[in-house]
């Protein structure tokens, strides 16, 4: 037997001797943690090695079992946390809805009872109360609509539009209040070719309406003599389009800035806002994979930055 033949024979013998252990190690590696080596119990070196492999397999089995249990516990905890978060959001929303709806409901109940106490009054005599009743129902309708929009899922109807289209549409919708308040709208995008983005035109229009309506509201509070300006700047980056809508109104108090996008947060007096506009806008922009944030506008006023990604096919 030459040396190479001898080596090969030793290798074969060794492989045969070690095969039971090799098989168990392969089984363990592929996830069978029950696999064990059948021992000879003769106390020889192979038996000792088999014992050690089995001991390791026992240890691995215990560790894997513990890991699985911990992973299940972690999942249960995470599910509980998600549920708690959902419940807390529902609680917050229902508190807001209850508060907002109970005001007009009180008005409706009191007015109808007061009207019922005047059975001989003419319609003309009751005209003001009847118009207040109508106002209360309008207010309730607006709250219900806001909640529906808020609750609506992320099913967007995306289409390719020029980036300035939803903005133009929003400015068109707000033309009357903007003119009435003597607001000047300055834009930097008049001469540029607007990039194309894949968005839900109506939803993005809704975002601009909410942001612009807030700007109008802020500017209306200024003294008559002050100039009232909304500045809209559009910047097309390679990956996104950034819109900045800034007003030179009183701005947002520092303590309110972090709550701006919370549902039902409003600084407007009762009946003037549901506190859902920016929260809904935040949801819409997020569903588009974009971002909306507030920045103070220098030297005064508020600025909302809306960043929408440019889709691959639209780029």
């Amino acid at each position: 037997m030459d040396p190479s033949e001898r080596d090969s024979a030793v290798d074969t013998e060794l492989a045969r001797t070690l095969a039971p252990m090799t098989n168990v190690l392969v089984a363990l590696a592929s996830g069978d943690f029950e696999a064990r080596v059948a021992r000879s119990h003769d106390g020889g070196p192979i038996d000792v090695l088999s014992f050690l492999v089995n001991a390791m397999a026992d240890e691995v089995a215990v560790l894997v079992h513990d890991l699985e249990r911990e992973r299940e516990e972690l999942k249960a905890t995470r599910d509980k946390l998600v549920l708690a978060e959902k419940l807390s959001a529902i609680g917050e929303i229902s508190e807001g809805v209850a508060h907002e709806l109970n005001q007009p409901l009180t008005v409706i109940r009191m007015l109808t009872e007061l009207l019922a106490m005047r059975p001989n009054a003419t319609i003309a005599e009751c005209a003001r109360d009847l118009s207040l009743l109508a106002d209360a129902t309008t207010r309730m309708t607006r709250i219900v609509e806001s909640v529906q929009t808020f609750a609506r899922g992320p099913a967007l109807r995306r289409e390719l539009v020029r980036a300035d289209e939803p903005l133009e549409a929003a400015l068109g919708l707000l033309e009357t209040p903007i003119k009435r308040a003597g607001i000047v709208v300055e834009r930097n995008d008049r001469d540029q070719k607007s990039p194309v983005i894949a968005v839900d035109r109506e939803r993005i229009c809704q975002v601009f309406v909410n942001v612009l309506a807030n700007a109008c509201y802020a500017l209306e509070s200024l003294p008559e003599a002050r100039s009232r300006t909304i500045r809209i700047a559009t910047v097309a980056n390679p990956a996104s389009v950034v819109f900045r809508v800034a007003d030179d109104g009183p701005g947002v108090a520092q303590e309110h800035a972090s709550k701006l996008f919370d549902p039902f947060f409003t600084t407007k007096p009762p009946g003037c806002g549901t506190g859902l506009g920016l929260s809904v806008s935040h949801g819409i922009v997020r569903d588009h994979g974009g971002e909306i944030r507030y920045e103070p506008s220098m030297p005064n006023g508020a600025c909302f930055v809306i960043e929408l990604p440019r889709s691959a096919e639209a780029r």
Partner: protein, 125 residues
């Protein structure tokens, strides 16, 4: 109304203009005098100007909350009755109201409830 006016001077503190107007209308028609203001701070200021038998206040208001109005009432008088209107009873701190001997009036409420409330306050005045 042919009935005699209840011997109550009432202060109404409510930021919602319609609710304020209606509660004021009912109180004015039934009580010796009624006064209405539009936020918590004005409510607290009004306490310094005259003595009220009854203060009806909203809970969630700009400036100062209904709790703060109620506390200001109690600082001045143990006899003035306090009614707190709340649209979300689950989040209302009833312990705090009890400590201030304030009653809770759950929104939405009607005129009949308000009449009953005014009459019961007049009996206790």
């Amino acid at each position: 109304m042919s009935e005699e006016l209840l011997p109550l001077d009432v202060l109404i503190v409510e930021d919602d203009p319609l609710v304020r107007e209606l509660v004021f209308r009912v109180a004015k028609g039934r009580c010796r005098s009624a006064h209405a203001v539009e936020d918590g701070l004005l409510g607290i200021a009004a306490l310094g100007q005259m003595r009220f038998d009854l203060v009806i206040t909203d809970l969630k208001m700009p400036g100062a909350s209904g709790y703060e109005v109620a506390a200001a009432v109690r600082e001045r008088s143990q006899n003035t009755m306090i009614v707190v209107m709340s649209g979300f009873v689950e989040r209302t701190d009833e312990t705090r109201l009890t400590a201030l001997s304030a009653r809770l009036l759950k929104k939405p409420f009607g005129v009949a409830v308000l009449y009953e409330l005014l009459e019961s306050c007049a009996r206790n005045a």
